[in-house]
Symmetry: C2
Subunit: 259 residues, 2 copies
């Protein structure tokens, strides 16, 4: 029987709130078994860019990662956020090790091809080195990923943290029984966007299709849900969506998604 | 017989020069056998601090690492510099993995006690996890350290890169036959500071004591030399000091220090 492995993604909004981050890291450190953390960015990078007078480049309303923005992202996500999370987890007795996709060649990607929009230094993932991550984990290490990959030719690439989490979960599913957790500011997928407690506790392929028909799922939730089903369709056992209390054993109010 | 391990420290002045850095990384990637890289900082952090209007705090002419400076250091050395070196080494076929001392709990330190000067968030090293580094190296990984350690209680600490390199070399000497390389902008320890080619090719305890008596060694070189002899007195096999060409097999003009 395969060992269990939890892949937990924490969103930028949670990271920004110092109290929320500390509580999350406490819950994460108490989570039993083997685990991997993936953290998003948050507004710290935008704030630093503004302080340095670097304007965010947009194209058709979408953000472009130019060379300067990539430097900021590498400093903030790869440096400040990642190293502080690692140091805090060490204090909680979790032997964390921070990684970008370049470190140990863990996440290979390619620069997104230019179609209608040139997204700049944005990476689409090609492969995860699951064997090396397996070795690390079995040494007692908890890998902590920032949302940066590389192309193997010396170029770092800004990469969506939700996608990094789902691709790692998929990559590790050959070796482990995986659960993917998306931890964000809401209690789960909501039936009524205005009602924080209207959490849909179970979603599967059939009920998701019904939810889509009735347009019950909010726009911002759609790419997240696509990520979830992509993971489930590629051997990830289960996906959970909720807030930082989701990792506590006594919490039941969050969304579980299965095929 | 123990395997050979090279610990190479590259100084901030070399890192700042893009052409010099690329040449160094090429030489480093070609260096045969097991190896660890430690990189210093350079003026990028000072530049960023100035852009953000953060003034360098000084006390009796010595730099203080306050909370803001530590953030800058973590962003620049732990993020920008470290991840770019790792990505470039990957492109050269070296499976690099970037680390601060918090990552994998590799370098434990304590905040330097306040005596005449409060240096702020500066760490003095207590221990190196040589077993974990041994595991990493034997997985085919080349660790790349920035000059940051941690106290195990959640605090990152700014730490001298020369000291990190020598303490890693000392820590690894129980398991490996170690050589410590200090790579900087000069060809080696110079007999005449003004004459770039007056490299002293061999120094040992006896000749070092003579050099000290005649005051032939420049002030800035003294702490570096102290570091070298501290390493040699603690089981490091050999220390070499020179510029980026030192790592090329055909180069002979650099300084070798032994007991």
């Amino acid at each position: 029987m395969k060992q269990k492995l939890s892949i937990v993604k924490i969103g930028g909004n949670v990271i920004e709130n110092q109290v929320g981050l500390e509580q999350f890291l406490l819950n994460f450190s108490k989570l039993e078994g083997l685990k991997i953390l993936v953290h998003g960015g948050g507004k710290l990078a935008t704030k630093l860019a503004a302080q340095l007078g670097i304007e965010s480049q947009m194209s058709n309303g979408r953000r472009i990662t130019d060379a300067k923005s990539l430097e900021i992202i590498t400093m903030v996500y790869g440096g400040l956020t990642n190293k502080n999370i690692v140091a805090k987890l060490q204090a909680l007795g979790t032997n964390a090790l921070g990684l970008s996709g370049a470190d140990g060649n863990t996440i290979k990607a390619h620069k997104r091809p230019i179609k209608e929009i040139d997204f700049g230094f944005v990476g689409d993932i090609d492969s995860i080195d699951s064997n090396f991550l397996d070795t690390l984990i079995n040494t007692g290490i908890t890998p902590v990923f920032c949302a940066i990959s590389h192309d193997g030719k010396g170029q770092l690439l800004n990469t969506n943290a939700d996608t990094i989490a789902s691709e790692i979960a998929i990559g590790m599913s050959a070796l482990f029984e995986t659960t993917l957790y998306y931890c964000f500011e809401k209690k789960g997928v909501l039936k009524e966007v205005e009602d924080e407690n209207s959490v849909i506790q179970h979603i599967n392929t059939k009920t998701y299709s019904d939810l889509l028909k009735t347009k019950a799922i909010a726009d911002g939730m759609l790419p997240k849900m696509e990520n979830c089903f992509h993971a489930l369709n590629n051997h990830v056992g289960k996906v959970c969506i909720g807030d930082i209390s989701m990792l506590q054993p006594q919490t039941s109010l969050f969304t579980t998604i299965t095929l």
